[in-house]
Amino acid sequence: MPKEDYEIVIGLEVHCELSTKTKIFCSCSTEFGGEPNTHCCPICMAMPGTLPVLNEKVVEYAVKAGLATNCKIAQNSKNDRKNYFYPDLPKAYQISQYDMPLCYDGYVNIETEEGEKTIRLERIHIEEDAGKLNHDDYGRGTFVDLNRAGVPLIECVSKPDLRSKEEVDAYLRKLKSIFEYIEISDCKMQEGSLRADVNVSVRKKGATEFGTRTEMKNMNSFRSISRAIEYEANRQIEVLENGGEITQETLRWDDISGKTFSMRDKEDAQDYRYFPDPDLVAIRLSDEYIENIKNSLPELPESRKKRYLEEYKLIPKAANFVTSSKYYSDLFEEAIAICKNPKTASNLLMSEVARILNEREEEPDQIPFSGKELGELVELIDKGTISSSISKKVLEELFENPKSPSKIIEEKGWIQISDEGAIKEVVSKILEANPQSVADFKAGKDRALGFLVGQAMKETKGKANPQMLNQLFLEELKK
């Protein structure tokens, strides 16, 4: 049976580090980086006799996440212990939430080729992150760094509603953008503050039962997630096609070989012995508390999109793109406050900025310049100071060395030539050098004009004002 006859079913558990100043159960800093074991204290190192105290901000942020993803908020909730031994887990249990998560029954909408699709969220719960193990390059052993131990996380568990790697990508980007909008996380995948466990199964199209799933843990780039889903789905189909069975197991995705590997055998199946943490009192939230958080939520992407369509008359594609990330959207709003040209600003973001980011394998949060620079750049185009081809070069320069675009063009000598005399000179030179094209044009081949303009642009290193160039060529040719 061909691949096309199978349906891929994917569910995600997304872990998102919350950007609270302090850890979930102690007052240590959550800052990323820092020398090993400098952001820890007796509590997050699990010294005997220490006790956790729940950081109220964590509850607030999680409730925000729940409300922004249309979840119901549990007024009665609790913390549970998930028991297992590992050197990065100092207490030998992770404080998490088991059967009473803070948020449940939510959904987000994603854009797919077939239009909008609703992805249901089973739950969002709060938990603490573990530390990190550093394996010494010189073979002196493994070192435990507890800076990350106790950094607050939310885990968002989706229903198995996703059917392709494209949908997964759209869903992840949507979640990321929502969390950025409500400012509960910086969602930096490269720093591990957004990671996903990906559950994949396949079944024959039309089947009602799910197939056996495998889980790939701790995936932290969009690209790896897409590749891993593709690989794993194909692997499962191949196993089934060859009459085999899928084993429910945890797999490790190896980005270099592009393959998944089995991590644990059945013998090691973990029994986490969840039970309510007796050190922490139950979490009780009043209607008023939840209502206050609801009222404090900022404008979410859906609503911004609507505004961009109506107020700024962006085309749907542009509105979707700009609101897909809070970083784009904020940059855009800051830029149009200066340049008053939403169309050009959104076009630059959608075409050039996205292209450069893609080439650099970076995410929008890594854009090194602000909306001020973007706005100024659009103004320079609008005033005719630079051509759109120069604007691309300015953008590239902005990524390398962010500063005022007018300064960049001045330093680089990229100011557009709009002096009629100078352009006339170039036009004459090009006409002289290309008699054949001149003849072609006169014989009715309009395309020859494009060639001549291109030659002139080349001659001026792209600095000639294209409108003027066009006009002067036409004037000369019609003489």
Partner: protein, 492 residues
Amino acid sequence: MELYELTVHELIDKLEKGETTSEEITKSYFDRIKEKDGQVKAYVSTMEEQAIAKAKQIDSDRKAGKKLSKFAGIPIGIKDNMCITGTCTTCSSKMLENFVAPYDAMVIEKLNAEDMIYLGKMNMDEFAMGSSTENSAFFPTHNPWDLSRVPGGSSGGSAAAVASDMAPWTLGSDTGGSIRQPASLCGVVGLKPTYGMVSRFGLVAFASSLDQIGPITKDVTDSALLLNLIAGHDERDTTSIETPKKDYTKSLINDVKGMKIGVPKEYLGEGTSAEVKEAMFKVIKKYQELGATVEECSLDIGQYASAVYYILACAEASSNLGRFDGIRYGYRTENCENLKDIYKNSRSEGFGAEVKRRIILGTYVLSSGYYDAYYKKAQKVRTIIKKAYNELFEKYDLLLTPVSPTTAFKMSEKLSDPLQMYLADICTVPVNIGGLPGMSIPCDVDSEGLPIGFQLIAKPFAEETIFRAAYTYEQNTNFREEHRPTFKGGEQ
């Protein structure tokens, strides 16, 4: 009378009158420790040098007219499961033999604020698991009334030190009777406060939902004084409860007229020795003479308390003790080639038999497939027990029971039979399950001269009622005047 024989309120009197100094008091305890601790073995470690230095400092401050707490310069012994910055906190375990805490327990911060002096750390059953202090990884503690017998446990060192005048008072911790049972077996006053009254921050956890720190003292007045110092909400322990600050010495009133005391008949049944029963009837008679109404009542559900206790306490312990993994601090095996070895061998070698038994029990009851049958059911029964207590406290101000069904038993008598040992807690465990306050008050000795205690139990945060009734009993009887430890039964 020697200084070390006095109660703390008597020592404070003497200090205030200028009849003694903190240095004299402190030295008298260390002299007494040198004299008696070789036989009793109540201390895991002593802190003589720093204690005397601190006493001298306080004396000179007092002389200079500096405003000091009335407890400044009063010595105290601390059970070795509470952290004091810079000193070893061993929990009487090989696992923590060399663990030096970099922080103070909340109770220690409070005592520091009063400028109190630490005599040392008291021996205990390893990680507070046991009823005889024989489970200490270092050495057992002996009962000063008969050195061939146990002092009870797990706060056996804390109780034996007070009984033998090696400390004027001590702090113990009580998860299922660990303050009250040794206090009873050693003839001193032990109070387990309401769960949530004293911060557990810095108390090495055994069973978080049951553990509570409390005073072990020579009399009821000292108990109220020490509770005044340690009680109160602590933002670092979210299970500690915010209540208005009280002065418990105001409850030391010699009057129980009109008070209603219930005596659950189940605790005077066949498991309780005849001499203990007889002592209870004498206490009941005394309270009746003093004007209280004493009635028989029933706490039928209480028979399940021990089962509930050993499921919940072991479940919590199995998780609480996971952190002792040989990775960051504590004992690490020499015998390891990989991570699994570090865990397995560090824990096998670092923990004693009783601790391992409870970790295994606790792991079992939390395992998938057993959770509902054990842990969840135990939680449900716990709720029912609490409800039964609530109903009794609608009728009675206090409940009166024995503390221990027998007096101090012989050393190693029950060591090989854990179930027999677990029954030593049968009268005290239900109180922890209910989160209630309970006090052990010495009332008599048996035919062998071993102390017997009775227990007063009140509803949550009604310690005042307990203090009043206990104080009244103490004022109208003469246990301390009539009975003193004899240190008999020693080897020499």
